[in-house]
Symmetry: D2
Subunit: 359 residues, 4 copies
């Protein structure tokens, strides 16, 4: 272990995403968890007492070490108890609203999975493989808000799965329109998600707020940073979001209209050859070797079978074929928890660390 | 019981659709089952011995009466044993290929759920509410093929759910394009469908042949009969079909491009006011009072909750809203077995009977 | 409609059991719903606004009529608004504790599904087929408590399924011990039951308080009323209760030690010939024609396939065979909602009405 | 890699158990796969072409290396192509009947998961933690059958989960009777198990042949080897077996009658202190550090949450409490595939290797 691991804290450690994050940080080469934040009501409770059996998020082999299990939850207020540089926020959106700016103002780099500030003009919304350059927006944010710290945000889980697959197409061929219908897993709704009685032998064709996020976040992610602000990509997105009975893994049926006439093989090549982090010389510990994996079998990807490929950090694609209305259609799968929530947030912190944006 | 019930037979009585059909015919006001056909191997077996616990297709209260249960399966060959006018075919497609023409030639009216002849130019493919006039095609069929009987066909189950919802829009406003992503129930795959080990905590984004049917059958159904042939409607359809863990009820996320600029309320009115059979003076016993039912709740329709409305014979619609790429999007639900396979075939036989196309 | 239907009310009308009860009462030959009670917070709300999509409990064809849907929920306090003789209580146990005695004291006959008073010495706990004579206990209850009304109680849902199957054996052969392991359906936990994330690809081997109920209630149900009190049957019961992913229908693996040496055929006959209500001249509208149905197939009963037999009012039994430790083992299935909660409560009210215990 | 890894083959490599076995052998410290056997029909097919997406059995991180994927399936006949000492048999029982003796006669040590020869008097049926001494029976087997090789067998998956939990109790306190009701996972039925249509919203209270295995195999496993034969333990076992909708992990509700009066804490201690392999100086690579793990939480063990503890090689126990009929009851969980089928067979081969029974 190097002497100088960077100290981090996790806010919202009693939720599904927070617990998965904590476990993902066990043995991390760059980061070391020194504090955990929970609700006021839970302050003082040892972490072990809020550990939920599902909190591992099927992160196999990642038990919580003794000293983390013994760590007592702190109230989420900046101060000496949070003796660290980075705070991960897995807070509910309405709690994040007050807490995240307070930490940013107090000098912490807040790396957030909450939706609250994602679409703010001076807040980077970043998928490292897609738009790592947007991280530079924190300079403007600090200047304008007078903060020593900053807030950077991880997109919605269904957004990440989609955007990883369309980014290489957008970069190479342009994209004008995207139709996407999702079949989203239960863990995306957290520990207080839908009841088994509602879901068994059923599909719920509605997830509150989800379609709006999926229709707008990719525009910002694929946008261009110029003169200190993001020009969103001009791309029409239509989303229909469904909750289905899978534990993890959002499956998405996608159709795209490209900016130019392209052969099917060119799309496959665009995915296969896309290694943007490696090309940028960014070697982040949690980054997948292959961010988009194409499966040849006619009936893949499938959530239970394929979600753990690349430790769940990649988007898995299959069934590419022409679309009679737009240009091409395909199926995409992304692990909503391993990548979407916990892993995406961690990767973003690694980018922030590697980019030198925090001292 | 009136003296003059029309005698019918069911071919393929050992499958899920065949068994549901037989039960749907118990107590039918116009039809009386006099013979049941099965595979050569099963000829002579009493129907009770092939009855599967799932064969009721959740048709509540419809036990199989003693005399039907005692009926012995016949080999599927026209002859004296089939002493009837109409034979329902719930045969596998490859078996239907030989058997159905044999019966048609021998003078039977074959009302088929098999996909084999659906797209033949002189074979009516009919949803009574959508294109009951196409039944007239049997005249040409008889003439050209020299048959005394005929073959008329019921569309694929996912086609019916979709076409019932877009037909009133097509009639009133025109339709240019339809994007549809389905989440289809297990009973659509019959008794030998996917294994529980494959489906639990999973979605399979592929159903063999299904997308092709869903992209072509509505064009014929919405087409125009003129000069003895069908001119398909010029409508682009793109389908993505998925198998999910529901027992019955295909859920479909649909987006449509209409032929003219239309307000949202006009679509709702088009659905609410659509009673084509009643308007045509066709009073078929199995027809739903309301073929398209719109639900106001933001998270409906749902398969388990809504599939049994109107005895499963209607398409249930919800979540109508503008689409950023095409014009509108919505969610549709159809009971694949109650309407799609068994009910649609029965309704078609009722139309054939009522239309006077058989003597 | 006969002039003289007895007026009834349903308390707890916003829960799963309450809603199923209300629907079961639609068109009832003896009873007419005149009032609905809910929580203080919901007082004044029209019933239609609390109707849950699952509230029908799969009671097919039982829509809620206009005048019931319009009925406004009342606070659960005895008074003029409750212009009726019988109040059904589908209240949570802790609410029932105050509310039920208040109604009983005010002269109402309270027919309760709550567990609160079931084991009280002067409160009848009754399955009409098993111990309809225990209803006489209300006389003692009224006398001792000085009530004009009364409280009678319906057992726990898993108790009913079990007790219906062992009662005829106990009556005929005696029973000394019962081992039972249950696999209980989700609807048994009501609308706020376990989350889908907890249940998918899982079984939870624990249901709070359930094993205690299942080990004690049958002793009282099978007990003897003498000198105004119940002598419980001396029978050892060991229960292990599990929650599984079924919508309705508690499946129970049972082993019994009988009071005498009995051949297997004698058990089958004991079940087949058991028609206690009919034998007692009690013709209750909701009573099943056959309270215990034995299925011969080696792999039955199964929850989804068999739970709706006899409108869900019977216990379905199968797989009777010798037990190496006790005497015999078998599998039993009971519909926890159709019979266990709503149907059992309704049947009990019918018994109370028919027995003349209320004027 | 040491020079001298022992060469092994896997027969039945196209099934679920065979594929999991092959993957478990990747990187094994003692064994090296040199041949794979399949059905006659598949002979010559590269292993990669029969790899099923579920064949990993959720063995995370265990991809099949190139040279194994390229290996062509051989017909299952002893000969030069099988250049190895040990053959694992994951064959169907009826195929194993001929194939296993042929290999044993030809000098191979056959380590089998098939049920065919388990109960033969001269065939060791072994769970290494329970009865590793029974392996000595191979001497008698070789002598009597004139074989150079031998057959040793792994018990049924539900047997292993149960027997691991009762063995330490039997050794320490004696056991007279065991009541067990199982809720078994889908992967226990292999790739051609029950259909999703049969299992969704359902439990099937029957598994062909399973109860008989579970009632007899533990008697042999807990028996005593004396004078070259096994004296079965005199213990009454009653089993009721159910198939439920879980992917992996058989859950078992158990009640036991012990041979002596014992306090609850003594049972907990018996489980906690039981390390029979370590005590015998047997250090087998796949053996769990703790073969029986007790969970304190009131609602555990649960299949999805707990099946992967100790790499799925342990039995997980919980809810120990007095039983009103026998002495104690508890809940046990065993991973049917990781331990029950593939892992148990591998551990047995390790025992055979370590015991010096093969040269």
């Amino acid at each position: 272990m190097p002497v100088s691991k960077r100290k981090v804290a996790v806010l919202g450690a009693s939720g599904l995403v927070g617990q998965r994050l904590v476990r993902s940080l066990v043995g991390h080469p760059w980061f070391e968890v020194v504090a955990l934040g929970g609700s006021k009501r839970r302050a003082g409770t040892p972490f072990r007492d809020v550990l939920h059996p599902l909190g591992s998020g099927d992160l196999h082999g990642a038990a919580v070490p003794q000293e983390l299990a013994d760590m007592r939850l702190l109230e989420c207020e900046p101060g000496a108890a949070f003796d660290c540089d980075i705070v991960f926020s897995a807070l509910p959106a309405e709690v994040a609203e007050q807490v995240e700016p307070a930490f940013a103002q107090a000098g912490y780099a807040v790396v957030s999975n909450a939706r609250t500030y994602r679409m703010d003009a001076d807040v980077p919304l970043v998928i490292p493989e897609v738009n790592h350059d947007h991280i530079a927006l924190v300079e403007k944010q600090r200047r304008e808000r007078g903060w020593r710290g900053c807030i950077v945000t991880n997109p919605n889980c269904s957004t990440i799965a989609l955007t990883l697959t369309i980014a290489p197409l957008a970069r190479k061929f342009g994209i004008e329109a995207v139709q996407v219908t999702t079949m989203q897993a239960l863990s995306g709704a957290g520990l207080s998600g839908p009841s088994a009685l509602d879901m068994l032998d059923n599909v719920v064709p509605y997830i509150g707020g989800e379609e709006d996020k999926l229709e707008t976040e990719p525009q910002k992610l694929l946008g261009t940073l110029a003169a200190g602000s993001i020009e969103p990509m001009d791309i029409k997105i239509s989303a229909q979001c469904n909750r289905v009975s899978t534990v993890h893994g959002h499956l998405e049926c996608v159709a795209v209209k490209l900016g130019s006439r392209v052969e099917q093989d060119e799309l496959l090549a665009a995915w296969a050859e896309w290694h943007p982090l490696q090309d940028a010389g960014l070697h982040l510990p949690s980054a997948p070797a292959q961010p988009v994996i194409y499966l040849q079998e006619p009936n893949r990807p499938q959530p239970r079978v394929d979600r753990d490929l690349e430790n769940g950090m990649a988007s898995i694609v299959g069934r590419l074929r022409p679309d009679p209305i737009l240009d091409y259609k395909f199926v995409a799968l992304g692990h909503n928890l391993a990548r979407g929530a916990a892993g995406g947030t961690l990767l973003l912190a690694e980018l922030l660390h590697a980019s030198g944006a925090i001292d």
